[in-house]
Subunit: 274 residues, 2 copies
């Protein structure tokens, strides 16, 4: 199932949207957070009647299991350039009826047509310096091992070798950072909804920190989509500066093949008590 198919939604009776959490997008049985964000984001874009998630925030309330879901959407304001939409993604499986999985807030617009051309521009950063794709590390599932997860077959994420030691046996780098290439399999284009998957598609930064930390569940994730990506591999970087008080943030940047920043993200994640 392509990402587009796995995030498809159908208008529901109440003005919301019916959809399904597709199997295979999970990590240990729970759907990847970026995939859930894209699923809800596509329904929100439909409600907004504007294609691009200029800024979208999701709060993660419960794990998403494969099965039917419903996205309630409420347009708060339809303006001249933007539409603001509140949403919730709920399970509609019989045994979990109505359980909220995500709560969301997004502002949608239209990033096509070179709107930025007439604006001043300044970029004080550069895409991450990555070895060629073929020298980077694809983490693929091995039988009977919990890591890497099924999700890693749905996307092609290739890690900078210096950031992949936690997986290859060289050990964590000591720096809470993960850099790598991203594309979808079978040359499926990454649109601005697809970018919502990219910003949560890499292993946690903490895997490279020498900290007694395993999984770090996301509390909240905000993505800013700054431009529609050009075709080709995306360059991504995620890093963490503050592991404090039982929380950490992970800041992401996604750059397209032309060297343009296409998305920024920040998530707040929880350190399970040690």
């Amino acid at each position: 199932l392509s990402l587009a198919a796995a995030t498809g939604c159908r208008p529901g009776a109440d003005g919301g949207f019916d959809a399904d959490i597709a199997p295979g997008w999970d990590i240990g049985g729970n759907a990847n957070g970026g995939y859930l964000l894209a699923l809800a984001g596509r329904a929100m874009a439909a409600a907004a009647t504007r294609p691009d998630p200029v800024t979208v925030t999701a709060h993660y309330l419960a794990p998403g299991k494969p099965g039917p879901v419903h996205v309630d959407t409420a347009v708060v304001k339809q303006g001249k350039r933007f539409t603001a939409v509140q949403a919730t993604l709920r399970s509609t499986a019989p045994d979990t009826m109505g359980r909220p999985i995500l709560a969301l807030l997004g502002t949608f617009g239209d990033l096509g047509g070179g709107n930025g051309d007439s604006h001043p521009t300044r970029v004080d950063a550069a895409p991450p310096d990555l070895p060629p794709v073929e020298q980077c590390v694809r983490i693929t599932p091995r039988e009977n091992e919990p890591f890497p997860p099924p999700f890693s077959t749905k996307v092609e994420a290739r890690l900078h070798p210096a950031d992949a030691g936690f997986a290859t046996g060289d050990g964590p780098s000591g720096e809470p950072r993960v850099r790598g290439w991203f594309r979808l399999p079978d040359d499926e284009p990454v649109d601005t909804i697809g970018l919502l998957v990219v910003v949560d598609a890499f292993p946690p930064t903490t895997f490279n920190a020498r900290l007694p930390v395993a999984w770090t569940p996301t509390v909240e994730l905000t993505a800013h989509v700054r431009a529609r990506p050009a075709p080709g591999w995306l360059r991504c970087t995620f890093s963490t500066r503050f592991v404090t008080g039982g929380f950490l943030e992970a800041d992401g940047e996604v750059w397209d093949a032309t060297g343009a920043l296409v998305a920024q993200s920040r998530q707040l994640a929880l350190l399970p008590r040690s």
Copy 2:
């Protein structure tokens, strides 16, 4: 009016909250974005029955003018540690009845009690290096000048002299960054709701960029409150790395007098067309 008084709210008939945008917290007639966030945030905390905005996002839909407002709140999930709340802040003045000003999503918790003590900690950053408070620049209103705004009398923000040239006549620094001290007047304590004011209390970073850009309206602001601040002056830094496609982000950090990071923020702002 103290910040606590200016952000007070009363339970309304429908389960939401009535409040007032107080006069004097404005910039050119429009209430400061951080003040509006704190006003709504206090109502959301009351709905959540949890005091601390662990993460809160606001989308800015229309300017807030002094006068009566209503905060609709909906608890999406009340969990063991956190409560997630959706909200809208709407004008209830007769001529603007129901106009949405902010749409919000927040997860509230309890950051008291030293929850972080048992967690691994790592901080790869330091508070901004600031000259003593008395050597920093307080921007105060001068009669008949549009800048600085009335809001600047409601808070005490003192800018690093190197970042204040746009106001003192030395000219912009050329770096889209603003650093400074913050406290509330009359020794009013800054609680975690008060931090929502701090993250939008400084002049825009673009004032120090040598770009043909004046005001940059906020589209979205997300604050992560990482700890309750200790009493005393707060050290703040805001910077921008990407001015692209008609948008820019401004990233903020707030550190307390003990040197602890107490809040992180990111806002997405709009470059008016030139």
